[in-house]
Assembly symmetry: C2
Homo-oligomer: 398 residues x 2
């Protein structure tokens, strides 16, 4: 096994755990920043390390298009390519094909689609998506799934879920047959260069917004058997209450001793909520994308830094935050950078929002270890009530 998962403490259904990967340990629950094209937009790798990022997500679809997954393999794999010594998770491309590509045609064999970059014709199947992820060499890789649109009829959702279940088996078969063909070097900072298996494949539960289909999908995915399980196909346009309902429906059908990954979620409130429900891993572009749009998360609520009210504000972005940005710069300066479309605005805003997300998750974990998650949650709720602005939906990576 290339991946080990240990649960170190519980508080209700929530868990504080530890993922042991070939590229270091990851404390859970964990928020994984998204590094779509082998870069977390605007943040140098050493600053991610400084922030305490121990695992990040990268998108197979995007790397498949540019620079190409065989090219990344040739350059020593994703860790070496982007000079990232800690853990990486790659998604399978299923969601991006669904959300980004044109002229998509799905058959049992796989998905034909056109590149969102140049319109060229491409094809991804469970086998080729696994091969792409073997080429990238991330520590955790994902089965190739179909993400259904919302709303979808029960019939459509069932057919899709069943195909995803068949694709999960094909994903696993290809992975098991080919995972050892690339002998990854230990790479920068790898702690387990001698390990034979360097990648772990997770299954993905689908089933749209139907309780029974979610349950059946979970059972079939678990029957196929993976070292970890993801809940996919959410945050696709349904209400936030519906997302939570689907997560709650699915979790009891996943094995307690395996990591559980909720894909593409979410806002700061949501990552707390789902960690409390027993989710171990989450990812979302929201902190970095919002940052590039000047939307900043703070302990006092969300801030739109372009507002004129911040032009004279000499205080730190978030007085409760100890990140480099809050330690050094004023809201007035951050507003000036954003209003002037300066590159540094994207850099500093992204660093702060990631710090906020990571600190939030560390605080959740700490409260689980202390057995005081309830106290932590009531604190979060009372702060949310004071939040000056509402928070928009989380989005999946794109």
């Amino acid at each position: 096994m290339s991946l080990e998962f240990r649960i170190e403490a519980r508080d209700g259904v929530a868990r504080a755990g530890r993922l042991l990967t070939p590229h270091g340990e990851v404390e859970t629950p964990v928020f994984m920043p998204v590094g779509t094209l082998a870069t977390v937009k605007g943040v140098p790798q050493h600053m991610l390390e400084e922030l305490g990022v121990n695992i990040l997500l990268s998108n197979t679809y995007h790397l498949f298009l540019r620079p190409g997954t065989p090219q990344v393999r040739k350059l020593g794999g994703l860790h070496r390519f982007m000079s990232w010594p800690r853990a990486i998770l790659t998604d399978s491309g299923g969601f991006q094909v669904f959300s980004l590509s044109d002229l998509r045609k799905v058959t049992e064999e796989g998905v034909s689609f056109r590149s969102h970059l140049d319109g060229s014709s491409l094809f991804l199947s469970p086998e080729s998506a696994m091969q792409a992820q073997i080429d990238l060499g991330a520590d955790i890789i994902m089965a190739f799934d179909e993400c259904t649109e919302h709303p979808a009829t029960r019939e459509r959702a069932r057919q899709s879920m069943e195909m995803t279940a068949r694709w999960a088996k094909r994903s696993k078969e290809h992975f098991e047959a080919h995972k050892s063909e690339v002998s990854w070097e230990s790479g920068v900072g790898s702690q387990e260069s001698a390990r034979e298996d360097t990648q772990a494949l997770f299954g993905i539960v689908q089933g749209n917004m139907y309780d029974d289909l979610r349950k059946e999908s979970a059972e079939r995915t678990v029957e196929t058997g993976f070292p970890g399980y993801a809940i996919g196909g959410l945050s696709v346009g349904e209400t936030r209450a519906k997302t939570a309902e689907m997560v709650a429906t699915t979790l009891p059908h996943l094995p307690d001793d395996r990591p559980r990954y909720l894909m593409g979620v979410g806002t700061p409130e949501e990552i707390v909520q789902y960690a409390a429900m027993g989710v171990d891993m989450m990812d979302c572009v929201l902190p970095t994308r919002a940052a590039r749009h000047g939307l900043l998360y703070t302990s006092e609520g969300k801030i739109n830094i372009k507002q004129a009210r911040y032009a004279d504000d000499q205080g730190p972005l978030d007085p409760a935050c100890s990140c480099r940005v809050c330690a050094r710069y004023s809201r007035a300066y951050l507003r000036h950078l954003f209003a002037s479309s300066e590159v540094l605005a994207a850099v500093l805003n992204s660093v702060h929002n990631l710090a906020f997300y990571l600190d939030t998750m560390r605080a959740v974990r700490h409260s689980i270890l202390l057995g005081d998650l309830a106290g932590f949650l009531s604190g979060v709720r009372s702060r949310s009530l004071n939040s000056p602005e509402s928070t928009p939906r989380g989005r999946r990576p794109s």
Copy 2:
């Protein structure tokens, strides 16, 4: 005096010196990165510190427009606004009015122009340019000058040079009368909070491409009297040989014991050349602007990182460079970031090019201290001959 200049070693006409400013010491010859809008584009302040930047330049014209120099004053001055504890030099706006604004109308009183941002009508005079720079509070500020176009007739050049000389007197008068009106706090890291004078005003020599006008301008500026002198009005379209000729013409007419600042220059070869000729300070947007266009300076010559030849290149950008970028990332990765228009490309490329410029200037200074500038220069020349690509002209900040 808020500024002290000590010459520590000489090698021919070249000097290794030290500027003592209210915000720390600066070893000369020095290259000053340009932080147009109170940010060196794409580089967080702590990374500038890491690079050993001890003085940077910021543009009064740009800050006058946005966020406004009174606003920066209200926020505690430029050092505090951008959280930069080391020295700052601001230009007067004269060059930007010349290069950026529309519908410029120059009279003895000053310059009426329209903002390049929104077309609004603005006016800068020696007095208002001084006031703007007093409001900003930089350690070194510049007299308000007129930069003539190239080519210009002798008559036009003479009239302009004479007006610049009159403007220099008016600049000094306004500065002397008003420099103490803002009582700057010590600010971040200031070493000399008790000093009364916190700013020093430099004069600027003009005279277009005419030897005798350059000489006369130098003499008249020195007669007015400043703690340092700049050579302005170059790099405006003339040949590189002409620039060098004008610098050579001017330098002997500037006092030996005062810092000499060549504005808006230049390429790596040029900054070496002018330091060898006895220039102490230079600035240019070239390293950061070229970086954003994927043009990278290395000890092996200039690289256009977007070229396909770098797609498979796992080596560092510059094997002789010890900056963070060269220590960590491959050319293949930098090419991928640039080809994908990633924000991180601008950040990493800018950091490297600045490192290259600063390392170059440190090497020049070191060779002056050792009395081996000639040896250093012959090494530079032999490397330049091996450079795979020619180097375009340097440009003034914009």
